[in-house]
């Protein structure tokens, strides 16, 4: 695997839209060619080379390309958008849409990400070592297809609207989450190791939410049906089991009504 290192040398006055920082776009290019790829600051178009030092050539394909992003990229949007293979490592924090619509490969962010990370994600792996913003693994505005595959791990906290319209895949949050988890979801799983606030699984048709900490306010559409023992990440624990959202439309599978499941550790 070839490594391309890009280092921020000339931070933008406004924000940078850099959807070209992606193994698929870098593949088969030399450092010089990569520096010539477009970035956008407001209504002006310039090149990666204007803002970043680029060193190292990319591999022949996306899968053979690793990108290391150094320096302050807090004002850079769309890193790893639509990546299908390869690796990206961001050494600091980054802005909106990190790993949006990614279908494969691995994106690691050492710091925090802002909102809309992994929007409409289909596959691959996203690791956020800091905190995630709102709408993690959610659908784009007006779309009914949120995250449908892949894995997300947030080591810190996450904002509101995690997994809105989620269809599949798995999100694990080691810290706490804000309101609205898996709203409108029709599949997938969200594991919250910390505390949750309220509005978990509102309008959820199908899917699983597992909470280890507290829940401030439960949705009225979740009916308690007893306790179960679950194995999560190799460890067994007891959970209170709720099904819902009983106010929302329901699907049937083999003649049986399918409910979403909410498990809260007891």
């Amino acid at each position: 695997m070839e490594t391309v290192t890009i280092t921020m040398k000339n931070p933008p006055a406004l924000y940078l839209e850099a959807d070209n920082i992606c193994p698929d776009k870098f593949a088969g290019k030399t450092a010089l060619q990569i520096a010539d790829l477009h970035v956008f600051e407001g209504n002006t178009t310039s090149t990666i080379g204007k803002y970043f030092d680029v060193s190292g050539n990319a591999g022949a394909s996306a899968a053979d390309t690793k990108i290391v992003v150094k320096g302050d990229v807090k004002k850079v949007k769309y890193i790893g958008m639509k990546m299908s293979a390869g690796e990206i490592g961001v050494e600091g924090s980054t802005d909106l849409y990190a790993g949006a619509w990614m279908t494969g490969g691995k994106l690691t962010v050492k710091g925090n990400v802002e909102a809309f990370a992994a929007t409409g994600m289909k596959g691959g792996e996203l690791v956020i070592e800091g905190n995630a913003g709102n709408y993690l693994g959610a659908a784009y505005r007006g779309d009914w297809r949120g995250m449908s595959g892949g894995k997300i791990l947030v080591k810190g906290n996450a904002g509101s609207d995690v997994g809105m319209y989620m269809l599949g895949g798995e999100i694990t949050i080691n810290g706490n989450v804000d309101v609205h988890v898996m709203t409108h979801a029709e599949g997938g799983k969200v594991i919250i190791k910390g505390n949750a606030k309220s509005k978990l699984g509102g309008q959820l048709v199908d899917g699983t939410i597992i909470v280890y900490g507290t829940i401030d306010v439960m949705m009225p559409g979740y009916k308690p049906i007893g306790t179960v023992e679950l194995e999560v990440d190799g460890a067994k624990s007891k959970f209170a089991h709720f099904i819902g959202d009983t106010g929302e439309r329901k699907k049937k599978r083999k003649g049986q009504i399918v409910y979403g499941n909410l498990y809260k550790k007891v």
């Binding site: 839209e17 407001g42 209504n43 002006t44 509102g202 009983t246 106010g247």
Partner: protein, 438 residues
């Protein structure tokens, strides 16, 4: 001598009353009296007649004082600001006519700007929700003639839309609602005992920020499923009763306002309210309608939708329209410092945006086009006063139920004053020259 003009349209709130009578002097220069309007509408008309009105553009000087400039100088300043900015924000539009909005959007496209209207701090979440699950709505006429179940959820028309209840929703005797108020049941959901709530048959005093839970509980009740004893501070039995009351009507309507769009859950509240409306249609006929605030905020959504495909928070910086509130919405753009010029028209972000946003407006080149002196005109570098739309110039506006109504000119503006549309046309033509497109 005076003359009386009838069927004048009121340019204040989204109810867009079209039955006003206005008395003007014989030469058509002075507006004397206003009949049929609410107190706010009357003030809007009479305010145009104040003696201390600013009639020429003013440019802020380094020492903070204002210097009067000509309209041509104001056009030059505005066009230069838009031409030089990398990401200008053009915000407002809700208190002007559709004609001016349309010219403004041409400017935005040329300048590579972000265009946003007051829905950003108002019914934007409604728009997000209706894109997510649709909007079963109707016109205010249908409500007047048919509705016998009226829900006001998080809104207070007694103060915000003063003639709404008397013209459309509660008191009028319609074709199928011959007994007026007596033929309707009124449910108000509000954490406060507002003047609207005092009129209600049922007042559900919801816990603040728990509208989403209560809406969900209504749907659970409709499905005859298990409910906890108390939801959002309201006993389950009372929720089931209210749900039955809705079910047993012939035609119901949910009106909602800022109490649900701008509190915790925002678009999800509306999403669930629309889902509840859909749900109630399994039992009877139900509709839902946002209580739009500015008289032509609906029109701004219509014109933006027609021209760019999105109703607010449109980002044109890369030459094509993008839309994602949270990224392209005014508050976020200003709070994050994403824009480098601010163009405000027909609205007052200075009074309604968070202070961090207003501080950013003060830091960057800024123009405010407004007939009034407002906190926004105070914080902007250039203030361009214009004629009052709906009073001194006509034009098209959309009522809260998406019905377009042509407004009427009642009096002449002070001599030499431009309208929004005239000023914007001059800016557009100058910007064309600057961008080498003329």
């Amino acid at each position: 001598m005076t003359k009386t003009m009838t069927d004048v349209v009121c340019p204040f709130c989204g109810t867009l009353c079209d039955d006003l009578e206005v008395v003007v002097s014989d030469d058509g220069k002075q507006l004397k009296e206003v009949y049929n309007a609410c107190v706010i509408g009357t003030e809007k008309f009479l305010h145009s007649q104040t003696k201390d009105r600013i009639t020429r553009p003013r440019l802020k000087q380094p020492d903070g004082s204002w210097k009067e400039v000509s309209y041509d100088e104001a056009v030059e300043y505005t066009a230069q600001m838009l031409a030089n900015a990398k990401k200008p924000l053009m915000y407002g539009w809700s208190s002007t006519n559709c004609e001016a909005q349309s010219v403004g959007h041409e400017i935005a496209e040329m300048a590579g700007a972000c265009v946003d209207n007051t829905a950003a701090v108002c019914h934007g979440p409604t728009v997000i929700a209706l894109q997510d699950i649709g909007l079963p709505s109707c016109t205010l006429g249908e409500i007047k003639n048919r509705a016998d179940r009226i829900l006001f959820w998080g809104c207070n028309p007694a103060h915000a839309h003063p003639r709404h209840m008397s013209r459309y929703s509660i008191y009028p005797r319609g074709f199928f609602t011959g007994k007026g108020q007596k033929s309707r049941k009124m449910i108000v959901v509000d954490p406060r005992v507002t003047d609207t709530a005092k009129l209600a048959d049922v007042h559900l005093q919801v816990e603040q920020g728990r509208d989403y839970e209560l809406l969900n509980a209504f749907r659970v009740a409709l499905n005859n499923e298990w409910l906890p004893d108390v939801v959002a501070g309201i006993p389950a039995a009372k929720i089931r009763e209210a749900a039955d009351l809705c079910k047993n009507g012939r035609f119901g309507i949910i009106f909602f306002g800022m109490g649900v769009t701008q509190t915790l859950s925002k678009n999800h509240n509306i999403d669930e309210a629309i889902a509840l409306t859909k749900h109630l249609n399994e039992f009877t006929k139900f509709s839902i309608m946002p209580m739009r605030g500015h008289y032509n905020v609906t029109g701004s959504g219509e014109v933006l939708g027609w021209q760019f495909g999105f109703p607010y928070s449109v980002d044109l910086t890369r030459g094509f329209a993008r839309y994602n509130p949270g990224d392209t919405s005014s508050i976020d753009l200003l709070a994050r410092g994403e824009v480098d010029a601010m163009f405000t028209i027909a609205s007052d972000p200075g009074a309604h945006f968070p202070i961090s946003c207003v501080k950013h407006i003060a830091k960057i080149p800024s123009v405010c086009i407004d007939p009034h002196q407002t906190p926004t005109s105070g914080v902007s570098k250039l203030h361009v006063p214009v004629a009052f739309v709906g009073v001194e110039v006509g034009g098209n506006a959309y009522r809260m139920d998406n019905v377009p109504i042509d407004m009427r000119k009642v009096v002449d503006p002070p001599a030499g004053m431009l309208t929004d549309e005239e000023f914007l046309t001059k800016v557009r033509d100058r910007l064309k020259q600057l961008k080498g497109k003329a």
